[in-house]
């Protein structure tokens, strides 16, 4: 059991390879990190499929089991009412993917290895983000197909529908940074359970599944100010579906504006926090 001696190049002051820095390497490193995530999916197709189909199950449960009991304010089909909500909820579920990936890399020392390498440090997070956005685009596509199958339609043209999908991905982009930050703060990937537990009440305390006007007053007010609600209500409006005009508060009236402001605000808070936390790893 012997391992052949390895030759080591002499220490030279010239760089054997270009050091980190430069937009080209940052982009190349980011792409390597993205491909890493894609390779993960190729290794675990079952897990990916379950992840993509889980929201479909929620749609079927809500739409067919609970749907009969539900009245949409202003009238309309409940199944069509919940689809924009489910799109947004699917985006929110994505935070778990981000969290788990970031937390497990940090816990297993993989993040330290990256940090000890001459790669662009921004690529660690950017590559993760790009992969997660791709994942969410796929998840959204699955949900769109699911929605079309159960009778959801966009009524106001493809342009406005695309704008709605854009708002949904903007929300996902914002949650990405929340996921990165929480992943860096967490002790390990096991804490994902805590994130999962939080995603549900936050997701449901919004206009995603139930119109806030049917909730007790104070709860309805919280729901209408929930960033999820802004995106959901704006999407309903853009799709021209039922329940769009069920507003009451200022937040509900200005959902389209808030659907842009909220995600930008979340990014403005969590992006610097994440960068600081990442840097703080070198304390």
């Amino acid at each position: 059991m012997t391992i052949a001696p390895m030759t080591t190049p002499p220490m030279t002051s010239a760089d054997p390879i270009p050091p980190a820095g430069g937009i080209r390497w940052a982009a190349a490193d980011c792409w390597t990190m993205t491909r890493r995530a894609l390779a993960h999916w190729a290794r675990k197709p079952g897990e990916v499929a379950v992840g993509l189909l889980f929201p479909v199950m929620v749609v079927l449960m809500m739409g067919y089991l609970f749907g009969g009991q539900m009245d949409v304010p202003g009238g309309g089909d409940y199944r069509e009412f919940i689809m924009p909500g489910m799109f947004a909820l699917t985006m929110a579920f994505g935070i778990e993917t981000t969290f788990t990936a970031v937390a497990s890399d940090a816990a297993k020392g993989v993040t330290d290895r990256f940090r000890s390498m001459p790669m662009a440090s921004s690529a660690v997070v950017a590559g993760r983000g790009a992969a997660d956005m791709l994942h969410s685009v796929a998840a959204l596509a699955v949900m769109i197909v699911c929605g079309l199958a159960i009778g959801w339609r966009w009524h106001e043209g493809a342009g406005r529908a695309l704008a709605a999908f854009g708002l949904l991905l903007l929300l996902r982009f914002a949650l990405l940074w929340m996921g990165v930050y929480l992943g860096l703060v967490a002790k390990g990937p096991e804490s994902v359970a805590a994130v999962q537990i939080l995603v549900w009440p936050i997701g449901f305390l919004s206009s995603a599944m139930i119109a806030p006007s049917t909730m007790p007053g104070w709860l309805g007010a919280i729901a209408e100010w929930n960033p999820m609600s802004a995106t959901v209500t704006a999407c309903r409006d853009l799709f021209g579906g039922p329940g769009a005009a069920a507003g009451g508060s200022w937040a509900a009236e200005n959902a389209a504006l808030m659907a842009v402001v909220w995600p930008l605000l979340i990014v403005a808070v969590f992006l610097p926090l994440s960068v600081r936390r990442y840097r703080a790893l070198s304390r």
């Binding site: 080591t8 002051s13 190349a28 390597t32 993960h40 297993k108 001459p118």
Partner: protein, 328 residues
């Protein structure tokens, strides 16, 4: 080679008011294997984190492979390999995928990264498992993959932070083999470990650290002889004889004896090896003590280690003096 591969001067680093490094000095000549020994919390890992640019020192300076770890961190990173306490590999990806990914992140071209991956898989005997997820590897295999990943650029300086912690004896031997092979090729290795036999086997020189500074330095042999000295150990047949045996051993050695009642053993450090042994045999015989075993031996590194770290704990004022003594 002129400049040492690693040169640290007065490194300081505190975490929340507690000093993890308290003026640590270290010099490792190029092409040697240097062991960093110390108990948990003595500052071994912090030293490695500072030297590998993962942590910024609060004070002091360090150069690795000719570059400053703070001001020229990027240059240092392209000249070092790090094997941390966890086997930092992607457990979902296969061994080859891992090495190609790390190769790309070291900015090798696609073809070069694949070529290097195959070469390393071969060298670390992971060829058969190359396409299996690294999560299915044994502890030793994962460590070897980890080592292979840190060797992608064949860095002149390699840091191993407790590379065999938690491994079974067979896997430890495999990792030792790999480290020897690397050192044989001219790589400078800084190795932290809690296992003294590991340092004894691999390292050309050892620094013992306690409370964030070096408390003793030298070759394993020198540490053992200068700090321990030889010992005479007597094992008695009858527990009742133990105090008498200890008394005799102490007298011939001219120092205090220590006893281990469970092992029925009394022993002491001696200066004159042969003289002390013959005197002990004669006096024990004259006193009628039934001896089961008697012998001279060198202290184990464990004893040296415990002795030094106890000293560092009890007499913080004298530890600097001790260091100088050993270095002299």
């Amino acid at each position: 080679m002129g400049e040492p591969a690693i040169a640290a001067e007065g490194l300081r680093k505190s975490y929340g008011g507690t000093a993890a490094l308290d003026g640590l000095d270290l010099e490792v000549p190029a092409g040697t294997v240097h062991g960093l020994l110390g108990p948990n919390g003595s500052g071994k890992t912090t030293t490695v984190r500072v030297l590998t640019t993962l942590a910024r020192p609060d004070g002091g300076r360090a150069r690795v492979a000719g570059h400053d770890v703070v001001r020229e961190a990027a240059r240092v990173r392209s000249r070092i390999g790090l094997v941390g306490q966890h086997a930092a590999v992607d457990e979902v990806l296969g061994g080859r995928q891992n090495l190609v990914m790390f190769g790309r992140l070291y900015h090798l071209g696609a073809r070069e990264a694949r070529r290097r991956a195959d070469e390393l898989l071969e060298r670390f005997r992971l060829g058969d498992a190359a396409d299996r997820p690294a999560g299915t590897y044994s502890g030793g295999m994962r460590r070897r993959l980890d080592l292979a990943a840190s060797m992608i650029l064949a860095p002149p300086v390699l840091f191993l932070d407790e590379p065999t912690t938690g491994l079974d004896p067979r896997s430890r031997a495999e990792v030792w083999d790999a480290v020897r092979a690397l050192a044989g090729g001219g790589t400078t290795v800084l190795l932290t470990t809690q296992y003294l036999d590991e340092a004894d086997r691999l390292a050309t020189a050892i620094s013992v650290i306690g409370r964030g500074r070096v408390i003793a330095e030298g070759t394993p042999e020198r540490l053992k002889s200068e700090l321990g000295g030889d010992r005479v150990d007597v094992v008695v047949r009858d527990a009742a004889d133990l105090p008498r045996a200890a008394e005799i051993v102490a007298r011939v050695a001219g120092t205090e004896a220590d006893t281990d009642p469970d092992a029925l053993r009394a022993g002491a450090r001696v200066a004159d090896r042969a003289g002390a042994l013959t005197a002990a045999v004669r006096e024990l015989d004259a006193a009628g003590v039934a001896v089961a075993d008697i012998g001279l031996r060198r202290p184990t590194l464990d004893e040296v280690f415990l002795h030094l770290t106890d000293e560092a704990r009890e007499e913080p004022a004298q530890k600097t003096q001790k260091t100088q003594e050993v270095r002299a």
